[in-house]
């Protein structure tokens, strides 16, 4: 350490490692920062600390369905959405019909998970900026969602709930009332969160005009999800490329408008998540109304899943953006190739572009606002 500092004398810059054990890198991200005082001259994300060979594992499994629990472990804060994409890919490959009730339960689960994930993202973002209390308020609400999940699936974080053309088990009898109770109690909490954090003047000072991601840069890097919408682009796969039964629901796509600063700043990305939670509540309400009370939760599927030879790319909208699964089948029981396109990875790659010239404190805000999950970055 001493040597590094003395070597650098004569230059104004200091190289500093932010992470992998740093409180606000959301896991095990390591950022190599070149600093001039506290101003960031260069930032280089170093990844791979959480690499668990998802793609190789998916090829080695002797059954397509055995990969589902492993998809959970990519983005462990929105596990349901990861499963959703994968089972949709398999269903399209096998040309399977999914029962109505299953689709509704899936959508409700996926939207609940989206809220849970956004709550974590928002809370942790506030925590990064020094606001401790909103973080715990968010966690209290997230806890209620996890309770619903626990009763329905048996797990709180990694569910392994969606199966090919079905669900592992039916939801519990009180699922409908529990969920609609949650929706009712959660609406006022969003307002509370807005009062406490979103429109707090210190919070605005810390996030508006920081980490501006212009539309063009966002396109060039392939951003998606709230990060892209924060830059004012109305792009949501649930509307633009509907999967499951999302085309039946009436909801809006919130986009950033630069109302408190520049279009595409940290605040815009943040507020898109807050508003998306409201839209998710709307979808859940409609889905609860439309959900058939009776019905099978497992379609008749072949005993061994052996898709036809060929390839498929399906994409779904996870809380972090576009999650794509590219699967090549060679007619055997295991996939020839499974590639997951993780939105967090894409978003992390644009970090150097949007953080240059900002302060360390802004770096924390930027990392928080793109809301990465390192499990998904490394896979």
């Amino acid at each position: 350490m001493m040597e590094v500092i003395s070597k650098d004398t004569g230059k104004r810059e200091m190289v500093i490692n932010m992470g992998p054990q740093h409180p606000s890198t959301h896991g095990v991200l390591r950022l190599e920062l070149v600093l001039d005082g506290e101003v960031i001259k260069e930032a280089e994300p170093n990844i791979g600390y959480l690499h668990r060979c998802f793609e190789k594992y998916a090829e080695l499994m002797d059954d397509y369905a055995k990969v589902i629990p492993y998809t959970d472990r990519m983005d462990y804060v929105s596990a349901i959405n990861q499963e959703h994409g994968y089972v949709i890919a398999l269903e399209r490959m096998l040309e399977l019909e999914v029962p109505e009730r299953v689709e509704y339960i899936r959508v409700i689960m996926a939207e609940l998970q989206r809220i849970a994930s956004h709550l974590l993202g928002i809370g942790a973002f506030g925590l990064d900026l020094g606001a401790f209390t909103p973080f715990l308020y968010c966690f209290t609400e997230r806890e209620k969602i996890l309770d619903i999940f626990e009763r329905a699936t048996g797990a709180r974080l990694l569910y392994n709930y969606f199966a090919v053309a079905g669900l592992m088990r039916d939801v519990h009898p009180e699922f409908k009332t529990e969920t609609s109770d949650f929706v009712k109690t959660f609406r006022p909490k969003i307002k509370e969160l807005n009062d406490l954090l979103s429109y707090n003047s210190i919070f605005i000072k810390r996030t508006a005009n920081i980490g501006v991601l212009p539309e063009k840069v966002a396109f060039n890097y392939g951003a998606s999800g709230p990060v892209l919408r924060g830059s004012g682009v109305k792009w949501d796969l649930r509307k633009n490329d509907p999967y499951s039964i999302y085309d039946r629901f009436d909801f809006e796509i919130p986009v950033g408008s630069g109302e408190l600063g520049t279009l595409g700043d940290c605040w815009d990305r943040y507020i898109v998540r807050v508003r998306e939670m409201e839209q998710s509540l709307r979808i859940i309400e409609q889905a609860l109304d439309g959900m058939p009370d009776e019905g099978d939760v497992m379609a008749a599927i072949p005993k061994r899943i052996r898709p036809k030879e060929g390839e498929i790319y399906t994409r779904t909208e996870t809380p972090r953006g576009e999650l794509g699964y590219y699967i090549i089948s060679d007619k055997s029981a295991s996939a020839f190739r499974v590639k997951a396109r993780a939105p967090s990875f894409v978003h992390l790659s644009m970090l150097p572009a949007i953080s240059k010239g900002s302060l360390i404190a802004d770096m924390v805000a930027i990392v928080g606002s793109i809301d990465i999950v390192l499990g998904e970055v490394d896979r």
Binding site: M1, M2, I5, M14, I16, H22, P23, S24, E38, G126, L127, D128, L129, G130, A131, F132, T133, L136, Y137, T140, L196, L197, N200, I202, F203, K205, R206, L359, I360, A361, D362, V364
Partner: protein, 342 residues
């Protein structure tokens, strides 16, 4: 009490004078750390410590203290050993020494010096030095950044603090905190309010607001807790510290909070004077009122901590240099004019 002790035995008098503030600080720190956790718990819809010691986890701070004393004393290999070891104690000594001029009650003040306020401000400036010392001696880049931030912050915020203290001194006409307190006795401002300085002059209310913001920054509390902002600089200058040395930093930080709050209580809220005139007066009640006022200000600091996010370093400097300092000096001039006219 002071003369009485000195008459018996000067050495014993010195020891007792040294021991009383130390006892107050230690007991306060244990209570305040527990209290802060409970307040945080209350604000955040949770319980806070509940187990250690039975009733609402009252013994939590004591257990933590015992744990910290037993911990291994780690010094980084390339650290500057002497400075690294010395910094936390110097920091505590600085805030502890300042308690000498705080009039805890009408019967007790550690040292009846005529330049009490001046001494207090001078001694607390040493805090800055010990923070830089700790940051530099750790030989850690995060610590260094934390130390540098802290130096800039504390030096800057001393200016509005001193300017507002000066405003009060201008009205009170004495640098001795005991005299300042004594002249706030009685109960006749506007006929019903206690005779406290904050009620005597409208510009002293604005002075108090500036003073309070500045002491938040001086004692590194949210929204100005940049030197140790855990989400940016890991733990700032405290990053490499553990065990007892870290506990000394915490103790010093809490002592500093109390010190500045008590200073606020003396300068604006009548020190040990009872809010009800002569009712519930006397030295012991005086101590009660004084600590109550100080702890109320500490409570407000905690309340703010668990509500607000934190500023960025350049915004912090902006608030100080282009808002608080001009305002505090304008306020000083206006107070002087008010005093001349009325």
């Amino acid at each position: 009490m002071t003369e009485y002790l000195t008459n018996i035995n000067p050495v014993a008098a010195i020891l007792i004078h040294a021991a009383i503030p130390l006892t107050i600080i230690l007991v306060y720190a244990l209570v305040a750390i527990w209290g802060e956790r409970k307040i945080a718990g209350f604000i955040q819809d949770r319980l806070g410590p509940m187990r250690v010691g039975g009733w609402h986890g009252w013994a939590q701070s004591i257990a933590d203290l015992l744990k910290l004393i037993q911990k291994e004393d780690i010094i980084p290999t390339d650290a500057s050993r002497f400075l690294f070891k010395f910094a936390p104690f110097m920091m505590f000594a600085a805030s502890y020494a300042a308690f000498a001029v705080i009039p805890f009650s009408s019967a007790y003040i550690g040292s009846m010096v005529n330049i009490g306020v001046f001494y207090l401000l001078a001694v607390t400036s040493v805090l800055t030095l010990s923070v830089i010392m700790a940051g530099w001696a750790s030989n850690n880049k995060w610590s260094l950044l934390g130390g540098m931030r802290s130096a800039a912050q504390m030096v800057s915020y001393e200016v509005p603090t001193i300017a507002t203290v000066l405003t009060v001194i201008l009205v009170a006409g004495s640098l001795n905190l005991m005299t300042v307190t004594e002249m706030q006795a009685g109960n006749d401002t506007l006929g019903f309010l206690p005779n406290w300085l904050i009620f005597q002059n409208p510009f002293l209310i604005s002075a108090f607001i500036i003073f309070f913001i500045s002491i938040l920054a001086e004692s590194h509390r949210v929204p100005f807790d940049l030197p140790e902002s855990e989400s940016e600089l890991v733990a700032g200058y405290q990053t490499e510290y553990s065990g007892m040395r870290w506990a000394m930093f915490m103790l010093a930080e809490y002592a500093d909070m109390l010190l500045l709050s008590l200073l606020g209580a003396v300068l604006f809220f009548g020190g040990w004077n009872s809010p009800f005139g002569d009712f519930m007066g006397g030295p012991l009640w005086g101590y009660f009122w004084f600590m109550l006022k100080g702890l109320l200000l500490v409570f407000v600091m905690m309340w703010i901590r668990w509500t607000l996010p934190r500023y960025r370093v350049d915004q912090l400097m902006h608030i100080c240099w282009s808002i608080l300092i001009p305002l505090s000096f304008i306020n000083l001039v206006l107070t002087a004019l008010w005093e001349v006219i009325f």
